[in-house]
């Protein structure tokens, strides 16, 4: 009988421990801390488009230390990340007319959001100075086309309840990889050719979700 109780207790303990390993803490984005910027080239001048909206959420393994002073463990990090950007929230440096051309090429009516889902997150090492850099793999959906991308992502624990992800170096993407034809608008009788490559940077500040947001 005693043995049975011990086995049962062990089983319960293991189950609880297993459940704990699967538990996450949820973070939601803050309106004043989001910025995504893509920079490109054209035959007349360089351009950029920005959005201050990155929606979605981040769920981190509850055992991951969030105290900025605490040491992070290296290795795989259990996390769920989903990010979305309304395509038409991207505003170009060339004004509204160029925005509209950009939206047409991105088919914003059919594909209103740019989405990202994390597949894998790894922390290979802890730098002596500065924020740790995560190696991530995820799926990026733009214009309805899904591509797997790997990114180096900076991770800053601003406070116990506030975190930030950012790009330490720009990510290079090609429009044609997402079946977007680089715009070639004719403005004022001048034909403009836009380069295929864009360099993307972002900052994404999230706070611990409130009960309502959970």
């Amino acid at each position: 009988m005693k043995t049975t109780i011990k086995i049962l207790a062990l089983a319960v303990a293991l189950t609880v421990s297993g459940l704990n390993a699967q538990e996450f803490v949820r973070f939601t984005p803050q309106p004043q801390g989001c910025k995504v910027r893509m920079e490109g080239t054209s035959t007349i001048h360089d351009w950029y488009a920005e959005s201050a909206i990155i929606g979605g959420s981040v769920e981190l393994d509850k055992n991951l230390p969030l105290d900025p002073a605490a040491k992070l463990p290296t290795g795989k990090i259990n996390a769920k990340v989903y990010a979305k950007i309304p395509s038409r929230s991207l505003k170009s440096s060339s004004g509204r007319a160029m925005d509209v051309i950009m939206y047409e090429h991105m088919d914003v009516k059919q594909y209103p959001t740019i989405e990202y889902r994390l597949l894998d997150m790894d922390l290979p090492s802890i730098p002596a100075r500065g924020n740790p850099i995560l190696k991530t793999t995820g799926e990026l959906v733009v214009h309805g086309v899904t591509n797997k991308i790997t990114m180096d992502v900076g991770f800053e624990r601003i406070a116990k309840d506030k975190i930030k992800f950012y790009t330490p170096v720009p990510i290079t993407l090609k429009m044609t990889d997402f079946k977007i034809n680089p715009p070639n608008p004719n403005i004022g009788g001048v034909g403009i050719k836009t380069g295929d490559e864009v360099k993307v940077t972002f900052e994404w500040v999230l706070s611990l979700a409130t009960e309502e947001q959970k």
Binding site: Q30, P31, Q32, I54, G55, K84, P86, S89, G95, R96
Partner: protein, 485 residues
Amino acid sequence: MERIRDNVITKNLNGSIRSNLRNMKDNNKNQVDSSEITRRNFLQNASIATMMAMLGGIELKAAEQTQTQPQQESSPLKRGTPVNCAVIGCGVWGREILTTLSQIPTAPVVAICDNYQPMLNRSKKLAPNAEAFDDYKKLLAKKEVQAVIVATPTHLHKDIVIDALKAGKHVYCEAPLAHTVEDAHAIAKAAQEAVKVNFQSGLQLRSDKQRHFLLQFIRSGAAGQAIKARAQWHKKESWTRVSPNPERQKETNWRLYRDTSAGLIGEIGIHQIDEILWFLMAKPKSVTGFGGILFYKDDREVADTVQAVFQTASGLTINYEATLGNSFDADYEVIYGSDAAIMVRGQKAWMFKEADAPLLGWEVYAKKETFYKDSGVVLRADASKIISHTEGASKESSEPTPLYQALDAFVYNSDLIGTAVEDYASSFDIKDTAALKKFLTEELKNKSIAATAEDGYIATVYALKANEAVEKKTKIDIQKEWFQI
């Protein structure tokens, strides 16, 4: 800023000065309302523009190169997505608005409203696809209506505007905002609190490309120091409308009665007075009124002939005159500077230089027109260059009217705000108004220039106080606190 508020037209400003030309080219620094324009910079760049024109012709069309200026792209795609509009109040002006909206590709009119069926019938011809309502509340309940233009008699604005804002509609409210300061204040306050929608006051001249060109010209100091300003509106017309029956007489002729009308100054003069105060950044400290019912001996209560003299702290006077009894010389505004007078008639303007005024340079090549003994240099965005003196000299203005430009700006800004709010709500807590306001401030940096609720309120207060001064034939000291919203 204070030192240039009144009669000095922005001479000798210190600090970093945006040049006129750069201002035209820089989409991100295009707030032409800026006082940071110096005479030297303006003249320098005007000369550069002349030289450029002679060398091959870059047009000095400020508005076309400035994102916040009204644009004239014909494709709806180039002006954002369409915004479903409704017009409430389908009288003469309401139908003018409908006609104008029909020329704006991004402004489909989906609903019209008037409590008098014949007005609706006439308006249906101008907006054949619009659903007709006799009750504005029913119109506001329609989800597909995104924006409303309120063109009812002035005294009916308040409830309609506030209800429309509450219903989440973008609102264009004709000027004056209301026939009382209290109502105008309530409208302006509601508009400022309605963060999620666009509100525009119907001061259409504020959206006019030609006015923005003049604004820069005047504020650069090109006319010297402001000495005085004057505006007039002369038109021989009774201001009465034929009433179909005695019951509707008062309703049809609401402009003639004190309890419903803001008078000649409030209904007509507000646009001209606002234009001058805006150009000169003047804040009058008092207004003195004269006038009365001199010609039309009917049952009207508001004056058919008025004069109001605004005076600033520094002594600059702005004189406004209007009459329904005589048409001579129609309507215009003049700003008298120590180096030149600038006269504005509709969308045309001229500069009359003093003999001892410094040579600007470009005016040698500019088109001139003779007025009695004076020769006026045509002031247009494209007339101060040699190109307009040659191939374009005989070409008359094809600019859209100020009303078109104002409504176009309204639709454009409504689209910008509407989509920005919708996108924001998809990711963040929309109830956090402070955060939303901050977000929108950044997002709307490139919106088209248009009169705000504050602009409309300030102009309404000045006009109503001037009307009161006329009625009482007295001087009214203008209090700062009246302008707090």
